[in-house]
Symmetry: C2
Subunit: 374 residues, 2 copies
């Protein structure tokens, strides 16, 4: 319910619970707005108050069509531009610290508190753009979504991609996750696989009657240590691949030659290939061993050769790097939409007890997007 | 209480519970006696009935002093011979099969059922020797002990070694565990150690920011695969040493470069060395790694150069092999008493559902000990 307009019928006013709906003033400067957004606590699965405030702040803007879906809010222009850009940000945070790191505090030019990095600065920038640019150079879709910090099955972006992909349509997407003010393009894919060695159990006093599966794993680990990961250029960005053991287990008792050893490997692959191609590579590396695919998620191409992306890079004039970790840009990629990460905040401070961001990063991010879209 | 003598005072006769104390007839042939011993169920910690029957059968033998300690029974001659030999056997068994493999059955020259191999044939032979040899060539100590098949803290032999080592005194010991009719001398020692590699945790999308401890374990496993175990001759027997991984573990999550990997190794070493020397060898093999000693148990020298042992081997005329696994002979060794294993039954059938023994092995074992001691 928009808090800026009176109820149509006073008789339907809900009983006053003593709590007052939080409001967001989009005319405030981006740092003040970001602090206000942070101060509306929104740990994953508890985003209703913030989603209400965002919806209420956007409804009065005549150039935007607003759709609410759960605690996810979509707002779009429809100006008939030749390109459509999606600006996206999640509105949830990880839990607060033991001594709550909210409300925010502003100290020596930095804003401290939960969400100041991941990623309510980006949400603040999005809301400022929505309010200030009624006639953007490209049609815009703003996506404020829930539950990014927990199991993907709750993710608001993933849900809309399933149920209402049309709402997410666009030529290019910017995810305003913290990148320390740089542009991080696309993301690598990730898969896990199990490499299993099999032996024959025996009493460890008479190992010659069996065959030690853990000893056979020496060859698996040797291939990993000898493996030289490639750096692959996609759309002008260098993605550093990696193939690493993330787990190993074997042995059932202290006097038994083990008949099985499992090495779990994680392959992070450039977005020039899909899961099938990536798994074929892993099987090739461990040729001769029993290899089983576990979970996998394709990466995302950065799409930096597209006109919208080129204009974005030219307008921003900031460094352009590949994104090494997997992020929700891959969900856009799966919809056929190239995507990049760009947002205020040092990602190394995300989720940390001392989460904080220099306020000029908010100001610079807003200014950069205004240069591009204004 | 001896079942062959009436109670001293009829008024103290316990109420008839309907159960009749089992008795053992030491004049029966060794196979019949062994079957009777097997048919008195005595799964570990439930040996009272069998210990009662053994005590009752031995008490009437005037040449033996009988001592009962828990469910362990010791019987000794005191003839002033120049050597004393200890014959030892545990009276417990592992649990019966789901469809109980008792009472015993005699089929085609084999005795089937729980205990026929491990090791009531040996117990039967001991009782037959006790009954038939009132004036042995060497003083004899018969040790029938409880709880060999479970945690060593319940072991009757271990308890007596602690509390009454004098009862176990001797120059040479024969443990009548199943050896398929061969002599198995001494036993190897065993120790476990942990070899740990340490790295630096990092996100698996950016492994270059950390250091993979599982990859470092490749070098540990390579040393194991390259390791050539020695064969060491002790008192004329060849002991085959072994150094093997029995466990490996590492990794805390599917997206984290692990900072720790632990390889558990088991070293089975010849009885020419003690735990300290054996662990020094393991540390040398894994020089440069963090190595921690776990549990350990020294082995036992076979003592085959002693006069009693030489006479034993000459009298028996059976193959003499090293014992590869750790057995209770090491408990005698710890008391300074050389010991060998010799008993009827194929050890590969011990604890098995189809536990069984050719009856001629009982007869031959009895005859062999009579040749030596009679």
């Amino acid at each position: 319910m928009p808090s800026t307009s009176p109820p149509a019928d006073p008789t339907t006013v809900p009983a006053d619970t003593g709590a007052r709906a939080a409001t967001l003033d989009l005319s405030a400067d981006v740092t003040t707005l970001t602090a206000a957004i942070c101060d509306i606590e929104s740990v994953s699965q508890d985003e209703a108050a913030l989603a209400d405030a965002i919806e209420a702040a956007l409804r009065p803007l005549a150039h935007l069509e607003v759709v609410r879906d759960g605690n996810t809010v979509v707002a779009r222009t429809s100006l008939g531009r030749s390109e459509r850009v999606v600006l996206a940000g999640h509105i949830d945070t990880v839990p607060l610290t033991a001594v709550p790191n909210l409300p925010t505090r502003r100290v020596d030019g930095e804003l401290w508190g939960r969400g100041t990095v991941d990623m309510k600065g980006g949400v603040g920038v999005m809301l400022r753009i929505a309010a200030q640019v009624p006639e953007p150079s490209r049609d815009l879709t703003f996506l404020f979504y829930e539950c990014e910090e927990i199991d993907g099955k709750y993710n608001g972006l993933a849900r809309l991609a399933d149920t209402s992909p049309g709402l997410l349509a666009g030529d290019f997407a910017v995810l305003l996750e913290p990148t320390d003010g740089a542009i991080e393009g696309g993301c690598k894919g990730t898969l896990r696989a199990e490499v299993v060695t099999k032996g024959v159990a025996a009493h460890s006093a008479r190992p010659w009657k069996g065959h030690n599966a853990i000893h056979d794993a020496a060859a698996v680990l040797s291939r990993l240590t000898a493996y030289e990961a490639e750096t692959i250029t996609v759309d002008g960005l260098d993605y550093h691949e990696a193939l690493q053991a993330v787990g190993i287990s074997g042995g059932i008792a202290g006097n038994v030659i083990p008949d099985r050893c499992t090495v779990t490997v994680n392959y992070r692959y450039a977005p020039d290939k899909n899961t099938e191609e990536a798994f074929a590579h892993v099987r090739q590396v461990f040729d001769g061993f029993d290899v089983t695919l576990g979970d996998a998620a394709d990466g995302a191409r950065p799409g930096l050769l597209l006109p919208a992306a080129k204009a974005f890079i030219d307008a921003l004039g900031v460094p352009v790097n590949p994104k090494e970790g997997w992020t929700d840009v891959a969900r856009f990629s799966a919809l056929g939409i190239p995507a990049v990460n760009f947002g205020p905040g040092d990602p190394n401070l995300a989720h940390m007890d001392d989460e904080r961001c220099p306020v000029e990063q908010y100001v610079e991010a807003e200014a950069a997007l205004l240069r591009w879209l204004g």
